[in-house]
């Protein structure tokens, strides 16, 4: 035993002696995510596990995000194969009420228009990759970046896990951060594209929806998806299975399990595993900046597209649609619908748009799942 040797050995085994510059940079970034989640209420259910997972993944020596590490094991158990995002979607379906959409079907089209942001961003990513030497996205990467515009965490994680696993960390963070920032991103665009008169439009009250319609709805959606976009059926099927459990009334204990224990446990595991992709060597790159920039564009264009289609529909439709609700088509359920409600109330304190906005809001979830299916099929 040589004390000098032991001392040196001790020092060399510390984290301090082994920090890479990248890891040192990532630590405050992950702490920022935790701060945003805890203090600012930015999607805390996801950003807190992701941020903490990011801390763990950037610890020197321990290699917690590696294939034999704690987070790497969870990643391989449920992200690389797509299982966890689908189980989350199952729980989301079991918590979602599609009644407002059934009460006013044509607002579903607003949820289609908002997906325009996805594809514009995809082209933007390819252009960026083409113009800038230090950024390099292939088609799969571009598709996974575009899906940020879907404003749907599980869809983005599912697609990124399949098409661009190295970008998964940045994509997930962009998706959840911008979803949390919807109250800041959307209102200026909504105001810019609408007149005061349009924002004051009162919509006709929603018709009552029958229980049998609610029960058949998940099967209807699945049928439409099978007929037109079979590649989207894993995502759409998971949501709709959850929704059938909820609506059918015969299996309440399974519905409650999907809404609670299943989604909570999987959220913890999924968040940690996504955090493992914040390891410095993957996250710290020009690509990440590009992804954050492109994600913002995606949200903006999606919002604008929804609003503009609503205005277009008013040209041909009998019952007027308040174009603000088009902004909810990006999904970001239920935040975007709340933003619509808030902007509506600013213009007319008696104009409650929340339920009207829930229609395009949930349709946007289906719209992005379908877009993800198309992208998965055509870029694989």
């Amino acid at each position: 035993m040589n004390f000098e040797t032991i001392g040196l050995e001790l020092w060399q085994s510390t984290g301090l002696a082994n920090f890479s510059p990248g890891q040192a940079v990532m630590m405050p970034i992950c702490l920022l995510l935790l701060y945003l989640g805890i203090r600012r209420g930015f999607e805390p259910l996801l950003l807190i596990p992701i941020g903490f997972g990011g801390l763990l993944a950037n610890i020197p020596i321990a290699d917690i995000g590696g294939p034999d590490g704690f987070l790497g094991i969870i990643y391989n158990m449920g992200i690389s194969n797509g299982l966890f995002p689908l189980l989350i979607f199952l729980g989301v379906g079991a918590m979602t009420d599609f009644g407002p959409l059934l009460a006013h079907p044509k607002t579903a089209l607003l949820g289609a228009a908002a997906q325009f942001g996805i594809f514009t961003t995809l082209i933007g990513a390819l252009t960026l990759s083409d113009k800038l030497d230090f950024i390099d996205f292939d088609l799969g990467d571009a598709a996974a970046i575009g899906i940020i515009g879907g404003a749907d965490g599980p869809t983005a994680i599912f697609l990124a896990g399949k098409l661009a696993p190295d970008l998964l960390g940045a994509i997930a963070i962009a998706a959840y951060s911008y979803m949390a920032l919807v109250p800041i991103i959307q209102p200026p665009i909504m105001r810019l594209l609408t007149t005061q008169a349009e924002r004051e439009i009162k919509m006709v009250q929603l018709r009552p929806v029958k229980k049998i319609e609610l029960i058949l709805f998940p099967l209807t959606v699945l049928a439409a998806c099978i007929i037109l976009v079979p590649d989207a059926t894993p995502l759409v099927g998971a949501v709709m299975f959850g929704n059938l459990l909820k609506e059918c009334g015969a299996v309440d204990r399974l519905a409650k399990a999907a809404q609670n224990e299943l989604i909570n446990i999987v959220t913890i595991l999924l968040g940690l595993a996504v955090g493992s992709k914040l390891a410095a060597d993957k996250f710290l790159s020009a690509e990440t900046l590009g992804i954050l920039f492109l994600g913002l564009i995606a949200f903006a264009i999606g919002t604008a597209s929804g609003v503009l289609l609503a205005k277009l529909m008013n040209l041909v439709s009998r019952d007027p649609i308040n174009p603000l609700i088009g902004a909810a088509g990006v999904s970001a359920v239920p935040m975007a619908a709340r933003v619509v409600n808030k902007v509506g109330l600013e213009n007319n304190p008696q104009n409650f748009l929340l339920m009207h906005a829930m229609g395009p809001n949930v349709a946007g979830v289906l719209g992005s799942a379908v877009a993800a299916g198309v992208l998965l099929a055509l870029t694989r």
Partner: protein
């Protein structure tokens, strides 16, 4: 490759609109159908009596009742 991006946009937006348009049609059709044949699909009462109808719940309750009775009997008869 950017050209490929435009192709994806065309295919993708077409598909998304086709899907949701089809869905609008199906939802409208379903609404009309159940409006027309409302008498053949009676709504459950708002007080949740629908739940009582499903065999499952009712049966579990009955069994639970009987088991509780049995347990009580066992414990009551204990010497």
């Amino acid at each position: 490759m950017i050209v490929e991006g435009f192709r994806l946009m065309a295919v993708g937006m077409l598909t998304v609109f086709a899907f949701l348009t089809l869905l609008v049609g199906l939802m409208n059709g379903s609404a009309l159908f159940f409006e027309k044949f409302a008498d053949r699909f009676p709504e459950p009462e708002p007080d949740g009596s629908a739940k009582a109808r499903t065999g499952n719940t009712g049966q579990d309750e009955e069994i639970a009742l009987v088991l509780a009775l049995a347990q009580a009997r066992r414990q009551g008869q204990r010497v």
